[in-house]
Amino acid sequence: MENPEQKLDDLFRQRLHGAEVPPPPFVWPALEAELRKKRRRPILLFWLLGFIGVCTGMGLWYFITMDQTSSLASSAPNPSEQEALGPESKTLTMATGETTPVPEPAAAEPRQEMEPSTTQSAKGQLRSRGVAQKAENVKVKGLETRPQAYSMPESPFVETSVDVPLAAAETSTISGSVEAGENQANQTLAKSSLDQTAAVTLPPQMLGRSLRAPLITPKKFKTTNSKSSSRQKLCYDFTRQPSAWLVDVYGGPSLAQRSLTSALDDQPYLNQRLSTEHRNLAYQAGARVSLMFKGNFLVRSGVHYEQITETFEYIDPTSVTYILTYFPGNPVPDTVGVLYGENYLKTYNRYFFVDVPLTVGMEMRSGRTGFSINAGIMANLLFNQRGVIIDPQSHQPARFGPIGKVAPKTALSEEVFRPSAGLSATASVQWFWHLSPHYRIFVEPSFRQILRPVSLASHPVEHRYSIFSLKLGATKIF
């Protein structure tokens, strides 16, 4: 005889083991969100690595260009000194300021044929202070006699102002040899320590010195000088004025990453919140005043406005209609359809922040461009919210804040958010480009972490924000 208890078990097993009940509609969206998070984590990691790579690349580029700029500056003549001396200056002087021993000319050395360009340069070299007055009667083959007030013809070379402290004895020797004529001029040329050109025979030590301290700069360097001077003119000269006030205005899009965690282990309510609230647009704008000191360091403050928008979408999950079909002979109907419906609600939740940032930074410049790294805190002045949320008790939509009557207001719906968002930590990297010495534009990706939850401790779900922003703005330097 069959055990009646066993029979009961069998009855339940036959009916329930393979039973099928459609799940609530909010389960799949919550599940999908979790699965998407797992897929998205590597992508976020790639973005972070990319951001770090960009910052590292910018830093390397800055240091490399700084090296090039400094090496260029050491080789090219100082344009300010050139300008100070004026165009009439024909003085040729040595860069090192050393007196060079005049080599003894070879006694039987024949006179050397010189190239016209060489002779011209040699003539220019003869215009030292010590020999200027004595150069009237110099007759070098291929050269014409020039008066004292001689202005150089169009020459491929530009005379530089380099002082030559010649010894008195050398000066007299040179002046004497000039008077002698052609051979004397050759000897003078041989003796002169000012000769740059390789066509004239010079002792090796003089050639070596000329390479180290060029006296004549070709015209092609003039173009470079004009370009660098134009670049310098477009930049604010922080070397002369290491302290300055800067005023920024900016705006741009943001990406608000919301974190909802169940503080009281209320998973079903958390799932409802996750399935009904989704991220939407966010943006920020503001104005800042910065003080630059020591040419590189910044302290910034100002006013910052941030707005976060989220979509609230709700379908009443308890409203489920099963479409059943009864077949003859089978008392158990077959479920052929399920209707989910009623009370569809879609609205937008908005969160407004007004903050005062206080950050410090360091700026690095190279010509018209540069970048700065900033970090600091933001203190929240104003935090307003409005929208609809699932009530933790009734599990129905309830409104909070100054919003129209899209949903009822409950006792708990107004006790969700703190009156203030509190402190936030912020960091950013700014890349700027000078339009003129006092105006520049910038792009500044930044990150902000609101340190404590924006929800009250009494609320069953902890609501936090991390915000990535892109600031686009302009700066005026006073």
Binding site: P4, E5, K7, L8, D9, L11, F12, R13, R15, L16, H17, G18, A19, E20, V21, P22, P23, P24, F26, V27, W28, A30, L31, E32, E34, L35, R36, R39, Q267, P268, N271, I315, P331, V332, P333, T335, V336, G337, V338, L339, Y340, G341, E342, N343, Y344, L345, K346, T347, Y348, I403, G404, V406
Partner: protein, 203 residues
């Protein structure tokens, strides 16, 4: 701008009635392992109905059952590589669901002993009375059981575990498992008799 409230939003979802082709199941599983969102959705839609019924039997409330279902499917997707394509895939998912449900049950620390029905019913239960009830009603009956009775009844009576296996899973003595099952049966029989009497009076 705010959107206006939409009333009477309807969406029809037809439950799948076709049998599962073993070859499609293989492709589906491989697709889920690759991380295909579509394959994950398809797999969920195929098995969610049956697994939700399993969760309803173990959970106290519908919300708890939904929670167990979500957590169970997360575990299914994360451990899918461990399935060796030996045996029934549905059975594998069911075991994952049952384990998830039992873990939730142990976390909530249900009390085994509640007001039990010690007295035997006066007459045995009519099998036809059980047959007249819908699956939903039977699930409600099981869900109304005290927590400890419900866990043992699900494992032993419906899933087919032995008392030794159920005791090991639940962390109780085998004798406790037996007594819990007996009490669960008594409870169900009492409820079924009540329903039978109500039905007879109605007729």
């Amino acid at each position: 701008m705010l959107h206006l409230v939409k009333c009477a939003y309807l969406r029809v979802l037809l439950t799948p009635l076709s049998c599962i082709n073993p070859l499609n199941e293989y492709d589906l599983i491989r697709g889920c392992i690759r991380g295909s969102a579509k394959c994950q959705r398809d797999l969920y839609e195929r098995y969610a109905g049956k697994m939700y019924a399993v969760c309803l039997r173990y959970a106290r409330t519908r919300e708890d059952a939904a929670d167990i279902l979500q957590e169970g499917f997360l575990k299914v997707f994360s451990k899918l590589e461990q399935f060796q394509f030996q045996g029934s895939f549905e059975g594998w998912i069911r075991r994952v669901m049952v384990n998830t449900a039992l873990r939730a049950y142990q976390k909530q620390r249900f009390e085994y002993e509640q007001s039990g029905y010690e007295r035997l019913p006066e007459s045995p239960v009519d099998p036809d009375a059980v047959a007249m009830l819908s699956e939903e009603e039977l699930l409600n009956l099981v869900r109304q059981l005290p927590d400890g009775y419900r866990a043992v009844f699900n494992l032993v009576a419906i899933e087919g575990y032995s008392h030794a296996e159920a005791a090991e899973v639940l962390g109780i003595q085998e004798s406790t498992s037996r007594s819990q099952l007996t009490k669960a049966r008594r409870h169900l029989e009492t409820e079924l008799i009540k329903i039978e009497k109500i039905t007879d009076r109605a007729l």
